[in-house]
């Protein structure tokens, strides 16, 4: 699958016409004001391109998200100028003047809020009716002209029967653990040890899982001993008695 050439995405916006790549270059060179760029228009163009290709291009979508996020950040920064930078650009006395003006403004509003609190306290015993009166004139509902056929198409879309839900997982058959208990016991009656992986290699995954449960059960009851050279190596199963004799022999030696 070829990735969507996001940077070559052709745009036809009010403020710019050409490939997305060029738009980004011009923005970074400050040749275009970010606030003039219609971000929604770019997203729309990209989505249209995706629909045309009729395949999901995750790599292209990721690259587009990164680029469009950077563009949004640029635009947001230009819409909300950095106040700290504004103050930094001023001479110390001018900065103090500006800061004092802002502090005074805030202090006035704080006092106005305190006045409102006092006012609320003095007016707490004024009661009046809120909300619409029983005879309030009914608001006229103004709807735009509607196309009945478009409504029918939308409803038809909703009336499609939902896809069948797969219940295949409910059909899984778990063989009884006892089946494998018996199998392993009879194996160990004939042989001193066996390789678990080789023994269950031909079974399904479910059967292998149940077989492993049986193995744990036998180990728990002390009937078998398990050994494995390294993690993920084949599991060697042997009779517990034999293992004890071997250990004893090794210690005696």
């Amino acid at each position: 699958m070829h990735p969507t050439p996001v940077r070559e995405l052709e745009l036809d916006l009010d403020a710019f016409e050409g490939p997305f790549d060029l738009l980004l270059t011009l923005l970074l060179k400050e040749a275009i004001e970010p606030r003039e760029v219609d971000v929604a228009g770019i997203v729309l163009a990209f989505v249209e391109r995706l629909v045309e290709r009729d395949e999901v291009d995750l790599e292209g979508c990721g690259e587009f998200l990164v680029l469009i996020s950077a563009l949004l950040e640029l635009k947001a920064r230009s819409l909300f100028p950095d106040e700290t930078a504004e103050l930094d650009a001023l001479e110390p006395e001018e900065a103090a003047e500006e800061l004092a003006r802002r502090l005074a403004e805030y202090r006035r509003m704080k006092e106005a809020a305190a006045w409102l609190v006092q006012r609320l306290a003095s007016e707490h015993d004024r009661w009046f009716r809120l909300g619409p009166a029983p005879l309030a004139p009914r608001a006229e509902r103004r709807l735009a002209a509607q196309d009945a056929s478009a409504l029918a198409v939308a409803l038809r879309g909703l009336a499609v029967p939902p896809p069948n839900v797969s219940l295949s997982h409910m059909a899984l058959r778990f063989p009884p653990v006892s089946q494998f208990l018996e199998r392993f016991r009879s194996l160990l009656a004939r042989r001193r040890r066996f390789d678990f992986d080789a023994e269950v290699g031909g079974f399904s995954r479910v059967e292998q899982a149940v077989a492993f449960l049986a193995l744990l059960e036998l180990r728990k009851s002390g009937e078998i001993a398990l050994s494995q050279a390294v993690p993920f190596a084949p599991i060697r199963v042997s009779r517990a008695d034999d293992e004890r004799i071997l250990t004893w022999t090794a210690r005696s030696a």
Binding site: A96, R108, M109, A113, L130, A133
Partner: protein, 200 residues
């Protein structure tokens, strides 16, 4: 002793007063003289005369109902004598639990409105989103267009309910902004003092 209510209309002004009285009873928001005159199909000056008559009739202490001039119009409210009984019957969700942030935001919108959230945040030094949302939900402020330019922020103004809750005839009844807060010159001098003390 005050004379009892005289509700039997005999002259034209009395008849108009009864009509105005009825209009004020069915309205849930304050009605201006112009609105009353239009609904009563009468002359605004005669409506004002009728209102003066009604204000005398429904003055505080004469009835359980009081006619007041509020939020740029006229409206009935309960007399203050009945406030305790009203409080037992109703809650007051509009002004209950207003936070300090909400009150400061309300003051800014009342004095500087219509103003946007970025403007409010600029004055308060912190984001005003939550306070604005709370005030809009309570009906104390409402949207009033957008700032000019692309993606202009929504601007807010106080509502008639705000004036009604705070018992204001209009926003002009707020204290003058110059009478509030500290002098910017004094603050500037103090800032410069602090700066020079740190530098030395």
């Amino acid at each position: 002793m005050d004379s009892p209510l005289r509700l039997i209309a005999s002259n034209p002004v009395d008849r108009l007063a009864r009509t105005v009285e009825a209009l004020l009873v069915v309205a849930s928001v304050p009605l201006s003289v112009a609105e009353l005159a239009e609904a009563a199909d009468d002359d605004p000056e005669r409506v004002e005369t009728a209102l003066a008559l009604l204000r005398e009739r429904y003055a505080e202490g004469r009835s359980g109902i009081v006619l007041e001039r509020v939020a740029g119009g006229y409206a009935f409210r309960a007399s203050r004598d009945a406030a305790d009984a009203c409080a037992r019957l109703f809650e007051r969700p509009v002004e209950r639990g207003l936070s300090q942030a909400a009150l400061e935001t309300l003051a800014i919108v009342a004095y500087l409105g219509p103003c946007s959230r970025p403007e409010i945040a600029r004055i308060r030094g912190v984001a005003a989103d939550s306070a604005v949302a709370s005030l809009v939900e309570r009906g104390l402020i409402a949207e009033a267009g957008r700032e000019s330019g692309p993606a202009g922020a929504v601007r807010y103004r106080t509502t008639a309910l705000f004036e009604r809750v705070f018992g204001l005839e209009s926003l002009a009844a707020l204290p003058r902004v110059d009478d509030l807060g500290a002098d910017a010159g004094e603050l500037r001098d103090r800032l410069l003092e602090v700066a020079s003390a740190r530098a030395s």
